[in-house]
Symmetry: C2
């Protein structure tokens, strides 16, 4: 090990380019030698209904290359598994269970919200990870996550090269938020978009039939703290301008209370009811959130609230309309029962592609989804350097949002609609979906030292 | 018209028996004469994802009997359509659209929450309804609703007989709450049960994979103000005792804060996470609701809150666990995309059966679902006198709830599981379910007088 504490790296682009060049050279040589090594796969951050499809893609593709990849080890609870040397041996899983991962929501190996410390600060986290990788003869690192994870993946590639044990590190995109840059879309998003569009359409039919004597206003709160992609997808429920959802609230657009209330009133006057889909991240002009007032609930504790109940109360008190509200929360991101077949295919293919590119000597990249629009939507896979991905967010562009700020444009429909195509149903037994139940057998530890996390840091 | 104001009836069982006897006699005679008449169908109360399947059953069965039933008129917004003489002529709808009603959520003709005044008080609502029925030659009344509607249906049968224009009035059960007596289950419930069981299972997989470094407690609030059937159905997500949901909160069981918190702590200690499914109607021992504190939100208005956020805040403040919560609200009762095939079949068959029994001269009954358990679950249709149905609620029985009050027993599983069998998927075009869009053409009015509702009374 050539690792010598914390002075080994300055985080500059020039250096990164140099390191990446070293990694690629090494990997090309390794590729030439075709030495058989193990792979490490980990799930990171909030899971999606299709992240296990990416896992399935990685494992199935690796199994097609037994001459190059021995076992695929999966980190128990994401990168924590690497730090603690807790590796599940996926070789122990049956082909049918690996196949069934395609229809299983959640993270089959556990995920985590854990941000590694900066490389530039003195810490031994990266060193530990590389030690574990070296002990288990791991030459391939596949990290399945969002923007933060892309940063971690890049650093592991860099540090491993610096330490003279270069790993092929490839990032497999995953986020329901669809906020990763460069890639046309992020695996995980299409299924949430489909769930939200269908749920909005269904609930709207319900309210439309109750509007005369009961509920006039319905509010659905969806995820998306900074980017309004999920809220935007509710717009797909509408076929015509007057169809619900009548108002979409994006985090990209400052919330204007008076204007919003006027629009609600107009809509109820014209349509007899009003369906609102609100992103959890909407804020007032000054950036303050519209929920989370600091008031107390029935237990005398601080009311954290939510956007939907806050809007519902506002409307109730200002206009007296009877209302209902829903907050789909984890239901939306785990709704594998109505996943988009397109999304599942992309998630699976991204996993496969990561292995193929790794075997081809590539590293420090994220797999991307590329779109072709002629004559119809088609997609392919590409890649982007991780340095261009890490810690960047992609917001809903202005030309996707209607000039009034309360709906989506045809440009948005053209972008979103292909992503929700196809229904990928899981198998059912006894009325309930059958999901993979993996054995998740731990590989015997090889290092004498254990690694104590300073704390489980939340990000 | 023999109607002479408000002195014509005392609501006693003896009288009802006499009236029912008169109705049956009249209907038998009418049956003998086989005079062709029109039918009136209306949807009442909160809609379900399968109420339109019952409508489809009524209309398709009526079309099989053109020698007896001329047109089926549907009330615009339920019984309001009868009061206002706003009748949709379903004869104008194509067979394919009537077929598509089987997969369309919401109420295709509009529903209402409107309680007719008591027969014993001076009012002209019942008289108006019978006047409209007579003007449009309506001999069959099919009312699709819950307990309140059963009462209305009974009164219409009684008043019409008293007025010398006896209507065959048959109630078609519908409620997601599953609280109608006598019938084994209520159409609409099985689909909500399936949605809640699947959603609980999916979200639990999500949380299980995040538990170490992120969310420890997840709370799903489901409908059910007085009866905990929907909350109970979440228990189907568990295969073993330790499986989520770990805690179900029933409105039938008083909420004990200290005991609840202790159980949450135990569960997190043992399982690493805790999934809670709470009925919206849970209360403390003294009957006071656990949400709705009267505190103010960010807008300075009263916070109506909800059970899920109240429980989440309690747990957060008492124990500091990171939590998430969801409230499925209208999403659960409109989720036609994952309806139970068994439920859809029962809703459809109940509609058909109502027409058949009406043609057979029956009246003042509700169609019931009857269960046979040998050797496997099978169901048939029966009927019950409306006098035994109206204004009664069926709660979750004690032997369906675990002794600790936080889960369901095998008796409950045996009851619930058959009701969620089968997946009845709608057709999809362009990634979204295709629902019926009816023409809903109004029949020309025949009465010179309009009817002004005193107010739209909410129930």
């Amino acid at each position: 090990m050539k690792y010598n504490g914390c002075h080994y790296m300055q985080r500059t682009s020039i250096f990164i380019v140099q390191i990446n060049s070293v990694v690629r050279q090494f990997l090309r040589e390794k590729n030439m030698s075709k030495r058989k090594m193990n792979a490490f796969y980990a799930q990171s951050g909030g899971v999606t209904s299709v992240i296990n499809a990416s896992a399935s893609g990685v494992i199935q593709m690796a199994r097609q290359h037994p001459e190059r990849i021995n076992h695929v080890y999966a980190g128990r609870n994401g990168i924590l598994g690497a730090l603690r040397e807790e590796l599940f041996d996926t070789q122990q899983e049956s082909p049918s269970d690996i196949e069934k991962l395609k229809t299983t929501p959640g993270g089959a190996f556990g995920s985590c919200r854990y941000k590694l410390k900066e490389v530039s600060s003195c810490n031994n986290e990266y060193k530990r990870i590389i030690d574990v990788f070296e002990a288990h003869d791991i030459g391939y690192f596949f990290y399945n996550g969002g923007g933060d994870s892309a940063d971690t993946c890049l650093k592991i590639a860099q540090v491993s090269a610096e330490m003279g044990y270069p790993i092929s590190a490839i990032h497999i995109p995953k986020t329901i938020d669809n906020d990763l840059p460069i890639t046309d879309c992020s695996p995980g998003f299409g299924s949430v978009a489909k769930y939200v569009a269908i749920s909005t359409k269904e609930a709207s039919l319900d309210i439309a039939s109750m509007r005369e004597t009961s509920t006039k206003v319905f509010i659905l709160e969806v995820m998306g703290r900074n980017a309004g992609w999920i809220a935007a997808s509710a717009g797909l429920a509408a076929s015509r301008a007057s169809d619900p959802p009548h108002i979409i609230l994006f985090p990209e657009i400052a919330f204007d209370q008076a204007r919003f209330l006027e629009r609600v009133r107009q809509t109820v006057d014209q349509e007899g009811f009003c369906v609102i889909v609100a992103s959890e991240g909407i804020t007032f002009e000054d950036g303050s959130p519209i929920s989370g007032s600091g008031d107390k609930d029935a237990f005398g504790h601080q009311q954290l609230g939510g956007v939907a109940p806050a809007l519902a109360d506002l409307i109730k008190n200002e206009m007296g309309y009877k209302h209902h509200w829903a907050k789909s929360d984890y239901l939306q991101r785990s709704a594998r029962h109505i996943a988009s077949a397109t999304d599942v295919s992309q998630a699976y293919a991204a996993g496969q592609q990561a292995v193929e590119r790794s075997l081809n000597g590539e590293s420090s990249i994220m797999i991307t989804i590329e779109r072709e629009m002629s004559p119809n939507y088609q997609w392919g896979l590409g890649s982007a350097p991780l340095i261009d991905i890490a810690n960047k967010e992609k917001y809903v562009p202005t030309d996707f949002i209607r000039p009034d700020g309360y709906g989506i444009t045809m440009n948005a429909v053209d972008y979103l609609l292909p992503l929700i195509q196809g229904e990928s149903y899981p198998d059912y037994i006894d009325g309930l979906p059958q999901y993979a139940k993996l054995k998740n057998k731990l590989v015997p530890k090889k290092l004498s030292q254990t690694f104590n996390l300073e704390s489980t840091r939340h990000t």
